[in-house]
């Protein structure tokens, strides 16, 4: 049995389910709403945001451009997208158990490891497809509506300006990193789906874990600080690192640079480790699992 056949079959099942398209619809609707809001009221919103900056600097050009819009949208959406990922990944095994099709699948001459790998690969492809869809809406449509220019990112203590010629590759890298973050969520949800016989459990459990870990991240207490580096949620927003540009001794930004690349790569490695860990654990448990559904 070819591995690609299993992936084909799993993708076919995913994309024939109506629930799959909820995520695509939700992303398009949310992004569309944000774009509509900024298209209507963006000028005044930006003026308010730039008030303190305008006192000291002469800011000109298309500040509210497509690149900035994509940044704002990504910041907003990447917190909620895990739910949309879990909707499908959390259903991969538990959904089959719930329908009773798992036992029928496993009477076929496909090894359990192949089955797990095939199902995980299909859910990973769905995750990537959702992120590409998000990129099209967040970046592509935003550029069409708001145009392009240098990108100003306002932070609590500083402002980062990224030249328009230096932005696009950063988005490619940011989306690649976001893919790792979302694949971690997908792997977690997939792993949890081994233990349930309906998809609500894994979806709720995934979201609960993300919420608890995010709260732990937010609390600046010594006991939690010890575990923070090991929580995958700590590293999920590492994509923002690609928009921190290195400055040279003349206070000029270095085109194509990332201020703290090792930190970004470390976060990526932690996420990758989580994905592999969840996948291997899924394979080991599924291989020994009695199919009683």
């Amino acid at each position: 049995m070819k591995f690609s056949n299993i992936v084909d079959i799993e993708l076919y099942k995913i994309f024939r389910k109506p629930r799959t398209y909820i995520a695509f619809g939700a992303v398009a609707a949310i992004v569309g709403l944000i774009q509509l809001g900024f298209y209507a009221d963006g000028e005044s919103y930006m003026k308010f945001g730039m008030q303190t900056l305008s006192d000291s600097f002469d800011v000109s050009g298309n500040i509210l451009n497509g690149y900035l819009m994509a940044f704002i949208i990504l910041q907003t959406l990447l917190v909620h997208v895990p739910l949309l990922i879990a909707l499908v990944a959390g259903d991969m095994i538990s959904g089959e158990a719930n329908q009773g099709t798992l036992r029928l699948l496993l009477t076929k001459p496909v090894s359990r490891n192949q089955m797990i790998l095939g199902k995980f690969t299909a859910s990973a492809i769905y995750t990537l497809a959702l992120l590409i869809w998000m990129a099209i809406w967040a970046l592509g449509i935003s550029i069409l509506i708001f145009g392009v220019d240098d990108m100003l990112i306002l932070k609590s203590e500083s402002v980062t300006q990224v030249l328009s010629t230096d932005v696009l590759w950063r988005y490619v890298a940011a989306f690649a990193f976001a893919s790792l973050a979302m694949l971690t969520v997908s792997a977690l949800s997939f792993f949890l789906s081994l233990f349930a016989e309906n998809s609500i459990g894994p979806i709720m459990a995934t979201m609960s874990i993300i919420i608890v870990f995010t709260i732990l991240n937010a609390l600046d207490l010594p006991i939690f600080n010890l575990v923070k580096p090991y929580l995958f949620t700590t590293h999920m927003l590492g994509w923002k690192g690609f928009f921190d540009v290195q400055i040279n001794e003349n206070n000029e930004q270095i085109v194509g640079s990332v201020e703290n690349l090792p930190a970004v790569l470390f976060s990526a490695a932690v996420l990758l480790l989580h994905i592999v860990g969840f996948l291997v654990a899924s394979m080991v448990i599924f291989k020994r699992k009695d199919i009683l559904s």
Binding site: M1, K13, R16, Q99, T101, T107, V110
Partner: protein, 303 residues
């Protein structure tokens, strides 16, 4: 032997679902696997298909251990375990096509449609499974088991939820597969009458243990019958039988009826004997002794 099971057991914590079960299935035969609900049939079938791991014992199919050669064996096995649950959001054709692809063999669209025709679903092939009746789902499940032309077919309670016509269709299909295509079929049921009509050999299990195994015709020997007698006075009838040649066959006497095991040919003589003793026979029902035994299992009163 095409299928050989030795000392198979399965424990779920303290609960023993299957207890030291051994049996064998010959190539080309229809093998009935009989037991009341909860007797351990489905657990055994799940172990045969490697869906659950035995606590102990071994299973060899086509001469290979299922533990070591799972995929190789499953290429030649078609199975329906309990309800044939399928993807409700897909059509019958799409469901069958998915499982055909997973069988590892090259199966054309025409073959898939032909298989749907065998179970009488070709005209409804492109309807969603969610609109199928229970009988149609059951038939589609059997098509999933047959689509890759397996040598061994395992059907777990295939007539559950079917109307009489559906039951007859499945029965005929099993006989056709065995007689015309020389397939080996293992079929489980909780109804002796179903097994009796299709199986060459059978195994009865109760509480996970083997009760009896053998040739169906020999086991269901019509010469030995169990009689349920209701007389005008059961008390007098009991006394009369106790002093007769039938005394040894007396099994149970109850206020409502007497149970007596005897040869079928002696039934008219017994009736005459009771009438001669001025005992009227209100009702006399003869059942095969194995059937009686099985009925006692299902009703919870062992004879």
């Amino acid at each position: 032997m095409l299928l050989q099971v030795n000392n198979l057991s399965k424990h779920f914590g303290d609960f023993v679902a299957v207890d030291d079960l051994s049996f064998s299935v010959k190539e080309g035969e229809v093998y009935g696997f009989l037991g009341q609900n909860g007797a351990g049939k489905s657990t055994t079938i799940r172990m045969l298909l490697s869906l659950i791991k035995p606590t102990q014992g071994e299973i060899n199919i086509f001469g290979f251990s299922i533990d070591k050669h799972r995929e190789k064996i499953l290429e030649r096995v078609g199975a329906v375990v309990e309800r044939p649950d399928l993807y409700r959001y897909l059509t019958g054709y799409e469901n069958l096509n998915i499982f055909a692809k997973l069988s590892g063999k090259k199966i054309s669209k025409q073959d898939v449609m032909r298989c749907l025709g065998v179970v009488g679903l070709d005209k409804r092939a492109h309807d969603h499974v969610r609109v199928y009746s229970q009988g149609m789902k059951q038939r589609l499940g059997i098509a999933v088991a047959l689509v890759h032309d397996p040598s061994l077919i395992i059907l777990d309670e295939p007539t559950n939820g079917l109307d009489p016509q559906g039951i007859a269709d499945i029965r005929n299909l099993i006989l056709k597969l065995s007689r015309e295509q020389n397939k080996t079929v293992l079929v489980s049921s909780h109804l002796l009458s179903e097994i009796e009509q299709v199986a060459d050999s059978m195994l009865i299990i109760n509480k996970g243990k083997k009760v009896v195994e053998g040739n169906v015709r020999e086991l269901l020997n019509p010469e030995v019958v169990q009689l349920e007698i209701i007389a005008t006075s059961n008390e007098q009838a009991m006394e009369a039988i106790a002093t007769s040649a039938w005394a040894g066959g007396l099994k149970v006497s109850a206020a409502r009826h007497i149970v007596l095991e005897t040869s079928a040919s002696s039934v008219p003589e017994l009736t005459k004997y009771l009438v001669e003793h001025n005992i009227g026979v209100l009702s006399l029902r003869a059942v095969n002794s194995l059937e009686a035994y099985f009925l006692s299992l299902t009703s919870g009163n062992e004879v």
